[in-house]
């Protein structure tokens, strides 16, 4: 891939865990690439897969960070809703020729600042290798 391409990640972070974990990465002054731009959501269970696809079309990868299963979700089981949906969505993505790795679901708790930074770095690198998302024109 040419040096021009810098992957862009749109992230949906749940306000209780994922977003707080990202805040913790900041409080700890960890560094990660500016490839990622976050959107705070009340719960990963709020996310409609339509929104994931819209975000994917406008970027190179989508990161979703929620509370750990089985029991951490602030709203009891929204994280499971997201998990089931993303699992099924990935099947569809593969059928349409999109690498399902471009939608990444992670469980990141409010204390896991390190994990958040690591995931962003890893995901950015992975997307660098995958290249930009190209469709048939």
């Amino acid at each position: 891939m040419s040096g021009e391409y810098k992957p862009r990640i749109i992230a949906f972070l749940c306000r209780w865990c994922g977003y707080a974990g990202a805040d913790m990465a900041g409080t700890s002054r960890l560094k990660y690439p500016p490839s990622i731009i976050p959107i705070r959501v009340p719960c990963t269970g709020r996310i409609d897969m339509e929104q994931v696809l819209k975000a994917l079309k406008r970027s190179d990868g989508v990161l979703i960070a929620g509370c750990h299963t089985p029991g951490d979700c602030h709203y009891v089981r929204g994280n499971f809703q997201c998990f089931k949906r993303v699992t099924l969505l990935k099947k569809f993505l593969r059928q349409m020729g999109i690498n399902p790795a471009r939608v990444r679901l992670e469980w990141i708790s409010a204390t896991e600042g390190r994990k958040f930074a690591r995931v962003v770095r890893e995901f950015t690198k992975e997307l660098e290798e995958l290249g930009p998302l190209r469709g048939v024109e």
Binding site: M49, R77, K84, R85, L88, L93, N99, V136
Partner: protein, 330 residues
């Protein structure tokens, strides 16, 4: 004064033409209402004749846009007609044909004209050429994507259905009769219900809709009274507009979504993913656990073919991507 009607074809199967026959005796109403200036299956006029007209009242477009010729016909129709009707699911949403977008059009042509065992085409000639051994011919060029007509023109009236049921056609005739009397229909009128098929389905709805496990239609007896989704059968009723009379449900078969998505939903297939995955083991996810849930979800083998059967061309991801590397002949 009879209404001037023209019917243009995109990529059709003929079903929409045949649907008019279901009118039975009411076909006579149609002949008294309209003056058919162009309808290849019915009358012998040519596109030139349509082009010569300054204006017509109603243009109906059947089929999706697959070739550049289809697009040209559509644009001609839109130019001449005061009211443009997207007739049939293909015109409205791309229809079943939209599934072709899951492949590259070049790969489709290769499969059709080169690769299959029974085909003899040593020079690997594909349609769309402009010269065949020196003889100029123009065969319509396949576009890279199948599209619903709304991608190119404004639509005045939508009549979904594969094909639209006779009740829809009768309603359309009533709209045309009103038009004849000087009443324009509201812009973007849908001849279908706004609520989903669930509203019109007579089956017993459970207090709470939770799915234990998915199953396919052939895997065992289907209870005729109970909600199909509750039985684990993937019925697209909840995301599909009503108005078809729920005939499939009455025949003990699940809805396939041919009336397209309800008004507030943009992407029928993806919305169904979001809804049906949530219903699986709803309330019991913590006890069941991720591993088991993953297994159960993955028992849905073909979300593309089933959830997007009629609407892929109108969906958010409406084309094949070349992201998986290697040769994709899927």
């Amino acid at each position: 004064m009879k209404i001037k009607l023209a019917v243009g074809y995109g990529s059709i199967c003929g079903g929409c033409d045949v649907a008019f026959i279901d009118l039975g005796e009411k076909l006579i109403d149609l002949t008294e209402l309209v003056d058919i200036v162009f309808w290849p299956a019915l009358v012998d006029t040519k596109e030139e004749d349509l082009r010569k007209l300054k204006e017509i009242d109603v243009g109906m477009f059947f089929g999706a846009i697959r070739t550049d010729k289809h697009k040209a016909t559509l644009e001609l129709l839109r130019e001449k007609a005061r009211l443009l009707v997207a007739f049939g699911t293909c015109a409205c949403y791309g229809g079943v044909l939209g599934l072709a977008n899951a492949a590259r059009s070049m790969d489709l042509l290769k499969t059709g004209y080169v690769i299959t065992k029974s085909t003899e085409n040593p020079k690997q000639i594909l349609p769309g050429l402009e010269k065949l051994e020196g003889i100029p011919i123009s065969i319509p060029k396949i576009r890279s994507l199948v599209s619903p007509i709304s991608d190119f023109v404004d639509v005045d009236i939508w009549v979904p259905g594969c094909p639209p049921p006779v009740d829809s056609i009768i309603k359309l005739l009533d709209v045309l009769k009103d038009y004849q009397r000087g009443h324009l229909p509201p812009k973007g009128l849908f001849i279908a219900e706004d609520r989903s098929l669930c509203e019109f389905c007579d089956r017993e709805k459970p207090e709470v809709l939770q799915i234990e496990k998915f199953r396919r239609v052939h895997e065992g007896k289907i209870d005729e009274k109970e909600c199909l989704l509750k039985q684990g059968i993937l019925c697209l009723g909840p995301v599909t507009r009503g108005g078809c009379g729920a005939r499939c449900i009455k025949a003990n078969m699940p809805c396939r979504g041919c009336f397209g998505p309800v008004p507030n939903v943009e992407d029928q297939g993806t919305k169904f993913i979001t809804a049906v995955a949530a219903a699986l083991k709803a309330g019991e996810e913590r006890e069941v656990g991720e591993e088991e849930l993953k297994k159960l979800i993955e028992e849905i083998h073909d979300p593309l073919g089933l959830f997007y059967m009629f609407s892929l061309a109108a969906s958010i991801i409406n084309r094949k991507y070349l992201d998986l590397g290697g040769d994709e002949d899927e």
